[in-house]
Amino acid sequence: MGTYGGDEVAALVLSVGHTWTQAGYAGEDTPKSIFPTSVGWVDLPAEADQGDDADNSEDTQMQDVTQDGASASDSNHIGKKDADGGDVAPQPVGAGLVPSKKKVTKRGKYYVGDGEISCWRPDMEIKSPMKDGLVEDWDALEQIWDHAFLKRLRCDPTEHPLIITESAWNTREIREKLTELAFEKYNFPAFFVAKDAVMTAFAAGRPHALVVDSGGDMTSVVPVYDGYVLRKGIMRQSLGGDVLSDQVLQQFKASDVEVTPQYLIAKKSPVVVGQKPNVVLRDRPATPSFHKMMQMRVLHDFKESVCQVAESTYNEQNISTRPQKPYELPDGYNFNFGTERFKVPEIMFNPKEFLKNPTPEQENFVGLPKLIFNSAQSCDIDFRPTLFGNVVLTGGNTLFPGFADRLHWELNSIPHSYKVKLHAPGNTVERKCGSWLGGSIMASLGTFHQLWISRKEYDESGSNIVNKKCV
C-alpha cells in the first residue's frame, strides 16, 4: 500500500480488441476474463419489433439502463443472479430517433462469450463490432460491455471507475459515444479512455516506445513519446492474423483440402497421411459468418501449432531441411508440413512475395520492418534513436516462434545507424494483453486519479469532455 505509488480504487479495465476482449480489475496482472469480441445473434422475423437498429447513426442518445432480466436466459456459464438482482438487458439505444437509410436488420437475442458463439445455432450470425481498431457496430459493442461487466466480472458499474483502451487513431465521435455509453448506460462514477499503444508501452515500463501491435485484424506501429501518441508517426495496415489464416485456407483449397470445422463432424476415422478424410458430417446448416468463424478457429489452431518464422531471410533451401510438423484437421485429414509452415508468417515480412491472390488493397502492403522504419522515420530525428531502442512487440499475431528474432534481424539489416532493442515479453499473456496490463497498472496509480473524467464533469461538459481530457 503506497509502495510504488499505487493507490487502488477498484477500477475496472476493459480492452476491446478486434478478436479478443479483456476485462478485469486494475492492479491485477492478468485480466479476470478474456473472451472473443465477436457476438452472435439470430435475426428476428421482420414483424417482431423488438430489435434495434444495427448501424444507426451518429446522433444516438443513450437511455438509462433498464433491468428486465430477460437477457441471456439460456446462458450456460454464469448464473443469472447478480449482485444487484438480475441481468441487465440491452435496451434499444436511440431506437426510432433517426430512421436509418440502410436496410434495417432486426436482431434477436445476442450470444456473447466463447461458449455461446461457438455453439452451433441455425441462422446465427457472427460479427465482431470492431473493424480497423474502430467501433463499427455499437449494439454488438454494448453486448460485449454487458457481458464483460455483468456476466464475467459481475460487478456493479456504479461502484467502479472504468478505464478502457482505444486505438491510437480512434475518432472523436467514437470516443464521445463510448463516454456516453459509460456514463449514460452504465453509470460509472468515473471514466477514462487510454490509447492502447501508450498502455502497452506502460506495461513494458517505457515512457517512450515504438509499439508494434499485430493483431487479428491489423498491424500497427505507433510511436509513443512520454505517454503521448505521436499521431504523425502512426502506421497501420490491415494485414493481421486473419489475413494469414485466409491464406492458409486458400492453400488448403488449392491442394483440394476442405477445412471442415468441428461443429460439422459427426464421426471420423483415422486416415493415412495426405489421404482424403474418412468422415461423416452432420447436417448443420449455418450462416456463412458462423462457418467462417469456425473455420478460422481451426486455422488459428493450425497457425499456433505448426507455423514458424525463419530466423533470418527466407531461404527455401535452408527451410526445407527443417523438420516437418504433422497436423491433423478436425475431419481427420493430416499432413506433414514443411516449407508451408514457414511461408505463412513470412507474409508479415514480405507480403509482396508471399501473399497469394492479393486484393487491390493488399497489393500495397509493406513488410513489417518497413512499416516500423517508416514510422520511426516520420518522427523527429533526435527521437529516433530512442524509438529504435524501445521497440515493443505486442499482439497475438507476434507469437509465432522466431517472430521477434526475425524482426530484430530485419530491423538491423535496414541501413541506419541506430541500435535496435526489441522488447517482446516471453509471457504469452503479457504479449496478448499488453494494453490491458498497462491500463491495469495506470489505473492503480495514485497520481492517475486526478485524470479521471468524473460524472460531474460529464454532466457539465457533455461527452465532448473526453476529447479534452484524454489525449
Binding site: G5, P189, Y225, Y228, P415, H449, N464
Partner: protein, 648 residues
C-alpha cells in the same frame, strides 16, 4: 586465526584479562554466520550494523492493523470526485491526499496582448498562432516532440476547445485571441500606437506608425481584448473560423516552434527582470533559453546524413577511420625512422671528400692569419670576434697582408699581399670559390674553425698561409672558408692521401648493436703502433662514450694516425736513403743541406701535427693544419715531396 593474545604471546607481553572481559559478553547474534561476524566484530566500528532479521517470523500475538474502505477526495481535481480506497483505520481521514504533491505543472512565462503588440511581433507569426503555440506548450509541458506532432494551425475546432479547456482561465490569450486578431486586421496602426503608448525602449519594438490620434482608443481596445476572456466559446469559435478561412494552413518545423518560443521567452525575461538585483538570475535564465535555430537545423541535417549511410558507406568510413588511425599511430615511428635516415645521410655529408680536413685547415689558418693586424677579426664561419690581443709571432708583413686581405675582401690579385703570399693566393682563392659551390661542406666548416680557434697554437704562422686563408674565406662570402688552403699541392694532396671516409659505406646491421662495434678495424700489423700513438695522445684504446659524432671523429683520428704513420715510415725511409746518399757524398765531398733539412722538417711536423690534433680531442683538422705550419718554412718543397710519397 591469530588473536590479540597470540600477538601478546609472541611479543612476550602479559595477556590482558581486561580485553577478555570486554569481549566475553559479546555474543554472535543469530542469523549471521561466524565468518561474517568475525569480519564485522567489535574491531570494526565504521560500519553501522543492525541486527538483521532475515526471516521475519509471523507475529501471531501482534494485533492486525485495521484497514477501512474509505472515500477520499483528490485536491488535484477541480471537481469533487469521490473515489474509494483502502486506508489504515488509524490514519486521519481528513488528511490531504498523498499523491496531491505530485501534481506539478511547468512555469511558462505567459504574455499579455499588450506585451505582444509592443515587443513580440513577428511578421511570420500572428498573435493567435503564438498563443496557440503557448497553449500547446502548456498542455504538453514543453514536450517538443509532442507539440510538433500536434501542431496544426489553424487548429481543428475540437482541438482548440480541448486546449482551452485544459488551460482553463489562467491564460488570457487563448480565448480572446480571435477577437484581437480581428482588430489587428482592421487597424494595425492603432495597435502599433498602443504599443508605443505602453512604451518600453526595447530595440526590437516595431516602429510605431505614429501620429495616430487614436492612441488611447487602441490601448483601451487591447484592454478589452484582455478582459474578454469570458467570451462564450462559440463566439470565439466563429471568429476563429473567420480567421481560419483567410489563412492557409501552415506547417511549422520543430525548429520554428522552438525558435519562436525561446525568442519570446528571452524577450519577456529581459523585460520583466529589469532589476539589477536579479542580474545573475536573469543571465542564467537567458542562457538557459538560448536557441540557435540555424545551428539546430544544420545539426539535424547532418544527423540525417549520418543516419542514412548505406552499409557500404559505413564500411568504407570505418576502413578509412582505421587507416587514419593506423597512419596516425605509425606517424611517430615513421618520423623517427626518417630522422635516423636523415642523420645517416648527414653523417655521410660530414665526411664529404676532402671537406673536413681542408675546412679545418682553412679555419686554423684564418685565425692564425687574423692574429696579425691588431684589429678585431671576425672568423667567418662562426662569427666569433677575437680581440686582437696577442699577435703570435707573425711577421709584420704577413699580418698586414692578412689584415688587408680580410678587410678589403680583395680577390686573388690583392696588391698588398706579401711576396710569398702572392704566389699562392690565386689557387687558394680559386679553391675557396670552388668549395663555396658545395654547400654541404658548410656544416663542417664551423666546427673546423671553432676548433682551429680553440687550438690556435702560438706556433709561427707563415704569412702566405694566413693570406691564403683569408682570401679564400673572403672570396667565399665569409662562410666558406674551406679549401682556402695553401699551395697548389696542399689540399689536393691531402685529399689524395687520406682515403675519403665518406667512401666508407656504413652497412645497416639489423637489430641492436654497440656503436663501438662499428669502429673501422685497423690492420693487425699496424695495430700496435696505432695504439701506442693513441697512448701518446692520451687517449684510451676505445672511446669512452661512443656517440655517433665521437665515433666519427674517432675513426678519423685512427685513419689519420695510420696515414701519419705511413708517411713517417716513408719519411724515415727517405731520410735513411738520404743519409746513405749523404754519406756517400760526404765521402765524395761537402753538399747542400737545405733539402735534407726540409725533409726532416716535414717528417717532424707530421708527428707534431698528429700530437696537436689529438691533444684537442678532435682529430679532423689538426694534423694537416699543424703540419702546414711545420712545412711552411720551405713553402715550395712539401708539395712535390708529398706527391712523391703518394706515388710510392
Amino acid at each position: 586465526m591469530a588473536t590479540g593474545n597470540d600477538v601478546r604471546e609472541i611479543f612476550q607481553l602479559k595477556a590482558s584479562d581486561q580485553v577478555r572481559r570486554v569481549q566475553k559478553p559479546e555474543r554472535k547474534p543469530d542469523g549471521i554466520s561466524r565468518e561474517l561476524y568475525g569480519l564485522i566484530g567489535n574491531n570494526v566500528s565504521t560500519v553501522a550494523f543492525n541486527n538483521p532479521t532475515y526471516k521475519p517470523k509471523l507475529n501471531v500475538s501482534k494485533k492486525a492493523v485495521n484497514w477501512t474502505w474509505r472515500p477520499f477526495v483528490n485536491p488535484s481535481r477541480d471537481d469533487d470526485l469521490v473515489l474509494q480506497h483502502w486506508e489504515k483505520t488509524r490514519t486521519d481521514p481528513n488528511e490531504e491526499y498523498r499523491f496531491y504533491k505530485f501534481n506539478k505543472s511547468i512555469n511558462l512565462i505567459s504574455f499579455s496582448p499588450e506585451e505582444y503588440t509592443s515587443h513580440l511581433k513577428d511578421p511570420d507569426w500572428t498573435m493567435e498562432e503564438t498563443s496557440y503555440l503557448w497553449d500547446l506548450c502548456r498542455r504538453f509541458d514543453l514536450r517538443w516532440v509532442v507539440i510538433q506532432d500536434r501542431y496544426e494551425w489553424p487548429p481543428q475546432e475540437a482541438d482548440r476547445l480541448a486546449l482551452q479547456y485544459y488551460n482553463g482561465n489562467n491564460l488570457v490569450i487563448s480565448e480572446n485571441a480571435p477577437n484581437v486578431t480581428k482588430k489587428e486586421g482592421e487597424d494595425t496602426p492603432m495597435k502599433d500606437a498602443s504599443a508605443a503608448a505602453s512604451g518600453s525602449g526595447e530595440s526590437f519594438v516595431q516602429a510605431t506608425l505614429g501620429g495616430d490620434t487614436s492612441t488611447s482608443t487602441g490601448a483601451t481596445n487591447a484592454a478589452t481584448a484582455t478582459a474578454s476572456g469570458s467570451n462564450p466559446p462559440t463566439a470565439a469559435a466563429s471568429t476563429s473560423k473567420a480567421v481560419v478561412s483567410n489563412t492557409p494552413a501552415k506547417t511549422r518545423s520543430m525548429e520554428d516552434l522552438k525558435h519562436r518560443y525561446y525568442t519570446i521567452s528571452r524577450i519577456l525575461t529581459k523585460i520583466r527582470m529589469g532589476d539589477a538585483s536579479q542580474a545573475v538570475e536573469k543571465a542564467q535564465l537567458l542562457s538557459s533559453m538560448a536557441y540557435d535555430k540555424n545551428r539546430e537545423i544544420e545539426r539535424k541535417k547532418n544527423l540525417e546524413i549520418l543516419n542514412t549511410r548505406t552499409p557500404e558507406q559505413i564500411e568504407e568510413e570505418e576502413a578509412l577511420y582505421l587507416e587514419a588511425r593506423r597512419i596516425d599511430q605509425n606517424e611517430k615511428k615513421i618520423t623517427r625512422e626518417r630522422e635516423n635516415l636523415l642523420r645517416l645521410l648527414n653523417t655521410r655529408d660530414i665526411y664529404g671528400p676532402g671537406g673536413p680536413t681542408s675546412a679545418g685547415l682553412a679555419g686554423q689558418v684564418g685565425v692564425a692569419g687574423g692574429g696579425g693586424p691588431g684589429t678585431g677579426i671576425i672568423i667567418p664561419s662562426n662569427s666569433i670576434t677575437i680581440p686582437s690581443s696577442s699577435s703570435p709571432s707573425a711577421s709584420g708583413a704577413a699580418g698586414g697582408a692578412g689584415g688587408s686581405g680580410h678587410s678589403s675582401a680583395n680577390g686573388p690579385l690583392s696588391p698588398s699581399v706579401g711576396k710569398g703570399g702572392a704566389g699562392t693566393a690565386t689557387p687558394g682563392g680559386a679553391s675557396g670559390a670552388a668549395s663555396g659551390t658545395t654547400p654541404k661542406k658548410r656544416k663542417k666548416a664551423p666546427k673546423g674553425s671553432v676548433q682551429a680557434d680553440d687550438s690556435a697554437p702560438p706556433t709561427p704562422t707563415t704569412a702566405t698561409s694566413g693570406a691564403n686563408a683569408l682570401k679564400g674565406s673572403s672570396s667565399s662570402n665569409h662562410r666558406r672558408p674551406s679549401n682556402a688552403s695553401d699551395g697548389p699541392g696542399g689540399p689536393s694532396s691531402a685529399s689524395a692521401i687520406l682515403p675519403p671516409p665518406a667512401a666508407k659505406k656504413e652497412k645497416l646491421t639489423p637489430g641492436a648493436y654497440l656503436r663501438s662495434q662499428k669502429m673501422t678495424p685497423i690492420v693487425s700489423t699496424k695495430q700496435q703502433r696505432v695504439q701506442s700513438a693513441l697512448v701518446t695522445l692520451g687517449l684510451p684504446f676505445k672511446p669512452a662514450m661512443p656517440t655517433a659524432t665521437v665515433m666519427a671523429k674517432w675513426d678519423q683520428v685512427q685513419s689519420n694516425i695510420v696515414t701519419l704513420l705511413d708517411i713517417k715510415k716513408q719519411a724515415d725511409k727517405l731520410e735513411s736513403d738520404l743519409k746513405v746518399v749523404k754519406m756517400r757524398r760526404g765521402s765524395l765531398g761537402s753538399g747542400s743541406s737545405g733539402s735534407s733539412s726540409s725533409l726532416t722538417g716535414s717528417a717532424a711536423s707530421g708527428a707534431g701535427g698528429a700530437t696537436g690534433g689529438a691533444s684537442l680531442g678532435s682529430s679532423v683538422d689538426g694534423n694537416f693544419g699543424v703540419k702546414r705550419e711545420g712545412t711552411g718554412d720551405e713553402s715550395g718543397t712539401p708539395g712535390p715531396v708529398k706527391k712523391k710519397k703518394r706515388k710510392d
